[in-house]
């Protein structure tokens, strides 16, 4: 009797475990478009979303960090870097076109316009948001990021990195309103091995929601001003 029940339940169990199949863009790619936001505390401390809740530091890197400047670069209106901008508590929009994926971040009006056709990374220039080259692997958008320089922090807890940081991001739709975001980080000058972060990006479904301008200005006293104009009402 139990065996018959199990047999009858199998299709339901299998269906429940079948991976979500995202709709396709006009050129057949998994559709990641929309406005997304992280809802976690990673922007305070990235270990919140790290595998094992720890970062595998090299001892010398920890020493360097202890002696480093204590002022968060974003306090001077600097761009937050990758992956920090993805989990800053601000929405961002993904647009996809043939050959391009575009990230438009509300935070500090940052953007990444990324080719999804193969090209070599640039060399000899540090970029706050790095140099990104993307490709699709099945249902996943993979973004390879290098040239990140060394001036950004991974969070406001002062987790730093060297200019050898290499981040590989993976974006996969796991439901109508969810993207699973994973990233691997390696940096032979800072970490003893490659480590991973993982989190959910949530679609903002509120009708009529739009990104607004978020600016950061250095005030006369050198401190940043973040005027933020999101109106309380939806008018």
């Amino acid at each position: 009797m139990h065996r018959i029940l199990l047999f009858l339940m199998m299709p339901a169990v299998l269906l429940a475990q079948a991976p979500y199949k995202a709709p396709r863009t006009s050129d057949g790619k998994p559709d990641l478009q929309g406005i997304w936001i992280a809802r976690n505390a990673a922007s305070f401390d990235v270990t919140e979303i790290a595998e094992g809740r720890t970062i595998p530091y090299l001892p010398e890197a920890l020493e360097r960090e202890a002696k480093a400047d204590r002022v968060d670069p974003v306090a001077h209106c600097a761009m937050p870097g990758i992956p920090r901008i993805v989990y800053m508590p601000f929405p961002f929009e993904i647009m996809q076109r043939p050959g391009l994926v575009v990230f438009l971040y509300e935070y500090l009006h940052n953007h990444r316009v990324i080719q999804t056709t193969q090209r070599d990374h640039v060399e000899g220039i540090d970029l706050f948001l790095g140099d990104s080259v993307a490709r699709y692997e099945g249902d996943t958008l993979v973004v390879d990021v290098t040239n990140l320089g060394s001036r950004t922090w991974l969070d406001s807890a002062r987790h730093m990195h060297s200019d050898q940081l290499h981040v590989v991001e993976r974006y996969t739709r796991t439901g109508p309103d969810k993207i699973q975001y994973e990233a691997t980080l390696e940096d032979p000058q800072t970490y003893s091995k490659l480590w991973k972060i993982a989190m959910t990006l949530h679609r903002i479904t509120e009708a009529g929601f739009e990104l607004r301008e978020q600016e950061c200005l250095e005030g006369d006293d050198g401190r940043a001003i973040h005027p933020f104009y999101r109106p309380a009402s939806k008018s």
Partner: protein, 132 residues
């Protein structure tokens, strides 16, 4: 510095083909003096490839032997990059000559226009090359 083969190679090809509009993001005309061109030879002490404008610092020895550290403002990192000027193109200790325009406030500051490398290559540093 005498170029090794007598030929100056001006590295602006990428720039011309791109037709990039370059400009000062605020008025350099108020900060620097167009009637006071200078040309200084010195030793590179620092190169900050930063936004909005990069800065090259060189130690310049005057006739009395006194050393003054001069700073030269250049185009933005992305525009330098398009001209083939990378973050390690110049290094501390390199002997270079830089042409530019003197700052009006009397400090050892200038707006960099042309950089003469030890091998004779000339790199355009200025923010203004191709008006758009």
């Amino acid at each position: 510095m005498r170029p090794s083969n007598g030929i100056y190679c001006v590295m602006i090809l990428a720039l011309i083909s791109a037709g990039t509009r370059l400009w000062a993001h605020h008025s350099f005309a108020a900060e620097y003096d167009g009637t006071k061109p200078i040309k200084l030879n010195g030793t590179v002490t620092k190169f900050d490839m930063v936004n909005p404008h990069s800065w090259i610092y060189i130690d310049v020895k005057d006739d009395t032997g006194k050393v003054v550290n001069w700073k030269f403002e250049t185009a933005s990192p992305s525009n330098l990059y398009r001209r083939g000027f990378k973050k390690d193109t110049i290094k501390s200790g390199m002997q270079v000559t830089i042409e530019g325009y003197l700052a009006k406030d009397g400090s050892p500051t200038a707006n960099g226009q042309r950089l003469h490398m030890p091998d004779g290559t000339v790199i355009i540093l200025g923010t203004e090359v191709n008006p758009g």
